[in-house]
C-alpha cells in the first residue's frame, strides 16, 4: 500500500490511497486508487482490533477449558470481512465456513453472542446449541457458519437465486477457503450460478493452508481467482482492507448486472487451523512473524491513521485499551449466561416436537417437554 503525500487532519476529509494491483481473470480490474476518510479508517481499526482481541480471548478461554471441542480462529484475516462489510449492506447475504466468529461481528452481532455460543450458553448466537462453527444472524442475512468443508457454497448459490427471484437488489456471498476450493460441489454451484446469471460472489479466503496442507500441495492451480473458468475473477490483497472494500464494491455491481464472480482474497491466519493444530509444523515461525510485521491488516490501517494525522498514536492506544475492556466484559457476561434449557435438546428438530419427551437417567423420572 502506497500512501499519497497529502495529509489531512479532519476525520471527514477524503483520503486517497493506492492499493496493490488486482490480478484479473476475464475481466477488466477495478482502479487501484481507493478513496476513504479518517472516520472510516478509524472504524476499520476499531472493528479489526475488536475481532483480533475477541479471537485471542477465545484462545485463552479454550485453553482454560471454558470452550470445548472444535474452535477455528480468524485472527490475521480481519481485513477480508471488514473490507467486505464496508462495501455492502445487510440486505446482502453471507454464508461461510466454520471460521465464523468474526463474520457474526461483521454482520452486527455482539461479542457476547459469540462468546456465549463458544461456551454453549443461552445467550449464544444459536442459543448455545451449535458452538464455534454455528453462528447465525438472521436479521442481518448471515446464514451461518457450516461444519462441513465446502458444503456452504451451493447453499450460497441458492441464496443468490432467492435474491434474483425476489428482485431485492441483494447479492449472496458464498465464502470458503483454499482447502474447500477443490471440492467438487463448488464447481456444480458455480456452473448453475453462471448458467442462470445469479448474483453470487464466490469469496475464496486463501490463507494458503487447507488445515496442514499448503495450497500448492492440494491444488493443481492455486490461482483460485481463475478457477471459475467461464466466470471472471479477481485476486485481491486480502490483508488490505481498502483493497478488499474496493474489489467487493466492484464485484457487487458486476454480480447484479452479469452473474457470478470469484474474489480470491490473499490472506493469512496467524493461529493454526483449529485449536488442536499449533500451526507451526507445516510452516515456519519466520513466515508467520514476517506476515505480522509486513502485512498485518490492523498495522496497515494504524499507519494510515497516523500518516494522515487522523489521530495521535496515544489516542489509538486508548482505543485499544477500551476495546480490550469491552472484550473482557463480553467474556464475563457470556460466562454468566446459563446453558440451554433441557427442553432444547428436543426443540427445533421438527417444527413441532412430535410428542417427544426426555427422561432422567432412570425410568422413574419422566419430563414432558413443551
Amino acid at each position: 500500500m502506497q500512501i499519497s503525500q497529502r495529509s489531512f487532519a479532519s476525520a471527514a476529509d477524503e483520503i486517497t490511497v493506492e492499493v496493490r494491483p488486482y490480478k484479473a481473470h476475464k475481466i477488466e480490474p477495478p482502479s487501484t486508487t481507493v478513496t476513504t476518510n479518517g472516520e472510516e479508517l478509524l472504524k476499520f481499526f476499531k472493528t479489526m482490533y475488536q475481532m483480533r482481541r475477541m479471537e485471542i480471548a477465545a484462545d485463552m478461554l479454550y485453553k482454560a477449558k471454558f470452550i470445548r471441542g472444535f474452535c477455528h480462529l480468524y485472527d490475521g484475516q480481519e481485513a477480508v470481512l471488514v473490507g467486505m462489510e464496508a462495501a455492502i449492506n445487510w440486505k446482502d447475504s453471507i454464508i461461510t465456513s466454520y471460521r465464523d466468529h468474526c463474520t457474526h461481528i461483521g454482520r452486527g452481532g455482539t461479542m457476547v453472542q459469540v462468546m456465549a455460543e463458544l461456551m454453549g450458553r443461552q445467550a449464544g448466537a444459536s442459543k448455545g446449541m451449535g458452538g464455534s462453527m454455528h453462528m447465525y444472524h438472521k436479521a442481518h442475512n448471515f446464514y451461518g457458519g457450516q461444519g462441513i468443508v465446502g458444503a456452504q457454497i451451493p447453499v450460497g448459490a441458492g441464496l443468490g437465486f432467492a435474491h434474483k427471484y425476489r428482485k431485492d437488489g441483494g447479492v449472496a456471498f458464498a465464502m470458503y477457503g483454499d482447502g474447500a476450493a477443490n471440492q467438487g460441489q463448488k464447481y456444480e454451484a458455480l456452473n448453475i450460478a453462471a448458467l442462470w446469471s445469479l448474483p453470487v460472489i464466490f469469496v475464496c479466503e486463501n490463507n494458503h493452508y487447507g488445515m496442514g496442507t499448503a495450497e500448492w500441495r492440494a491444488a493443481k492451480s492455486s490461482s483460485f481467482y481463475t478457477r471459475g473458468d467461464y466466470s471472471p475473477g479477481l485476486k485481491v490483497d486480502g490483508m488490505d482492507v481498502l483493497a478488499v472494500k474496493n474489489a467487493v464494491a466492484f464485484a457487487k455491481k458486476y454480480a447484479l448486472e452479469s452473474g457470478p464472480i470469484i474474489l480470491e482474497m490473499d490472506t493469512y491466519r496467524y493461529h493454526g487451523h483449529s485449536m488442536s493444530d499449533p500451526g507451526s509444523t507445516y510452516r515456519t515461525r519466520d513466515e508467520i512473524s514476517n506476515m505480522r510485521q509486513q502485512r498485518d491488516p490492523i498495522e496497515q490501517v494504524r499507519k494510515l491513521l497516523l500518516d494522515h494525522k487522523v489521530v495521535e498514536a496515544v489516542e489509538l492506544k486508548k482505543i485499544e485499551k477500551a476495546l480490550k475492556k469491552e472484550v473482557d466484559q463480553a467474556v464475563e457476561e457470556a460466562k454468566a449466561s446459563p446453558p440451554p434449557e433441557d427442553s432444547m435438546l428436543w426443540a427445533n428438530i421438527y417444527k413441532d416436537t412430535l410428542g417427544a419427551h426426555t427422561r432422567g437417567l432412570d425410568s422413574k423420572i419422566k419430563v414432558a417437554l413443551r
Binding site: 471441542g69 472444535f70 458452538g131 461444519g147 462441513i148 487447507g210 492440494a218 428438530i349 417427544a356
Partner: protein, 308 residues
C-alpha cells in the same frame, strides 16, 4: 503395507499422522509414493480409491471424520458397493478399505460426533466393521484390508486417546462377520459394537454386583454381514436382549438386530427386546451426556427387562 506392495494410504493430512496420529511414521517407512495427502475432497478421495482398487491396488483411504463421509456416500453406495455386481463379476474394488473415526468424544457437537454406520449397513456389496479396542482394531483392520470386498471401517474416536491395552505384535487378524463373546452370562444378552462395548461391560458389572443379574455381552465387531447365529444362540440361552448404540434409535442398526432375533427366538423370549441408543436428535453440543446411551440408562433397562 509391508506384505502388500500394492497397498497405499491416503487422506487429508495423513502424511503428518492424521488428526488422531493413526498414520504417524508410515511416511518414513513406506515413502511418499504410498503414503500421501489428498485435497479436502471426500467424494474425490473415495472415487480415486475405487478406481485404484478396480485396477488391483489396495487403497486404504481415510475420511478424517465419519461426519465428513456424506459427500462420498454416492461413491461408496453406487460405485464401490455395486462394481462387482453390475459388471457381472468382471470388475471389483475389493481391495478398498475406508477408515474413518466415528462417535462421541465428549464435546464434538454436530459435525464431529456422529455414528453413521446404519446408513452403510443398508448397502449390499460392502462390509461394515467397528472394532471395540486397540487389539480388536489391529486384527479387524488387517482383515478388512485383506478382505476381497470393499470395507468401511469405523474407528472409535473416543478410544484414540483413552484406550490402553496390549496389542499383539506381528501379523494378527480377526475374522470379519464373527461376533466376540466379551462376557459370558445367563440372564440377558447385551449386544453392542465399537466404543459402546466399554459402556455395556461396565453396566454388566454394576447389575451383577447390585442385583446378581448375569449378563452375556456380545461385541458384534462386524455389522455387515452380522453374526446372527451368535446373537440367536445367546438369546436362546438368556431369553432377553438389549442392543445399544450411540446413533439415534430410529432406523439404527439395533432395529435390524431386534427384528431378526425376535423372529428367530420368538418363543424363547421372556421380555420384549430393548434398544438403548442415542435420541432422535442431531448430535447435541452441551447435552451430549443426556443424549448418550449411558451406563445408568443401560443398568435401568437391564433391571426392567429382567423383572418384566
Amino acid at each position: 503395507m509391508k506384505d502388500d506392495s500394492r497397498a497405499m494410504l491416503f487422506g487429508e493430512d495423513v502424511v503428518f499422522g492424521g488428526v488422531f496420529r493413526c498414520s504417524a511414521g508410515l511416511l518414513e517407512r513406506f515413502g511418499k509414493e504410498r503414503v500421501f495427502n489428498t485435497p479436502l475432497s471426500e467424494q474425490g478421495i473415495v472415487g480415486f480409491a475405487v478406481g485404484a482398487a478396480a485396477m488391483g491396488y489396495t487403497p486404504i483411504a481415510e475420511i478424517q471424520f465419519a461426519d465428513y463421509i456424506y459427500p462420498a456416500f454416492d461413491q461408496i453406495v453406487n460405485e464401490a458397493a455395486k462394481y462387482r455386481y453390475r459388471s457381472g463379476g468382471a470388475f471389483n474394488c475389493g481391495g478398498l478399505t475406508i477408515r474413518t473415526p466415528y462417535g462421541a468424544v465428549g464435546h464434538g457437537a454436530h459435525y464431529h460426533s456422529q455414528s453413521p454406520e446404519a446408513f452403510f449397513t443398508h448397502v449390499p456389496g460392502i462390509k461394515v466393521v467397528m472394532p471395540s479396542g486397540p487389539a480388536e482394531a489391529k486384527g479387524l483392520l488387517l482383515s478388512a484390508i485383506r478382505d476381497p470386498n470393499p470395507v468401511v471401517f469405523f474407528e472409535a474416536k473416543m478410544m484414540y486417546r483413552t484406550a490402553v491395552e496390549e496389542v499383539p505384535t506381528g501379523d494378527y487378524t480377526i475374522p470379519l462377520g464373527k461376533a466376540r463373546l466379551a462376557r459370558p452370562g445367563t440372564d440377558i444378552t447385551l449386544v453392542g459394537w465399537g466404543q459402546q462395548m466399554g459402556v455395556l461391560e461396565r453396566a454388566a458389572s454394576v447389575v451383577e454386583q447390585a442385583d446378581g443379574i448375569s449378563c452375556e455381552v456380545l461385541d458384534m465387531r462386524t455389522l455387515l454381514p452380522w453374526d446372527r447365529e451368535a446373537v440367536e444362540q445367546s438369546v436362546n440361552k438368556t431369553g432377553r436382549l438389549l442392543v445399544s448404540h450411540e446413533a439415534p434409535i430410529t432406523s439404527g442398526f439395533g432395529a435390524e438386530i431386534v427384528a431378526a432375533i425376535t423372529k428367530r427366538c420368538f418363543l424363547r423370549l421372556e421380555a420384549p427386546p430393548v434398544r438403548i441408543c442415542g435420541y432422535d436428535t442431531p448430535f447435541p453440543l452441551v447435552y451430549e451426556p443426556v443424549y448418550m446411551p449411558t451406563e445408568a440408562k443401560i443398568v435401568d433397562a437391564i433391571q426392567l427387562t429382567v423383572k418384566f
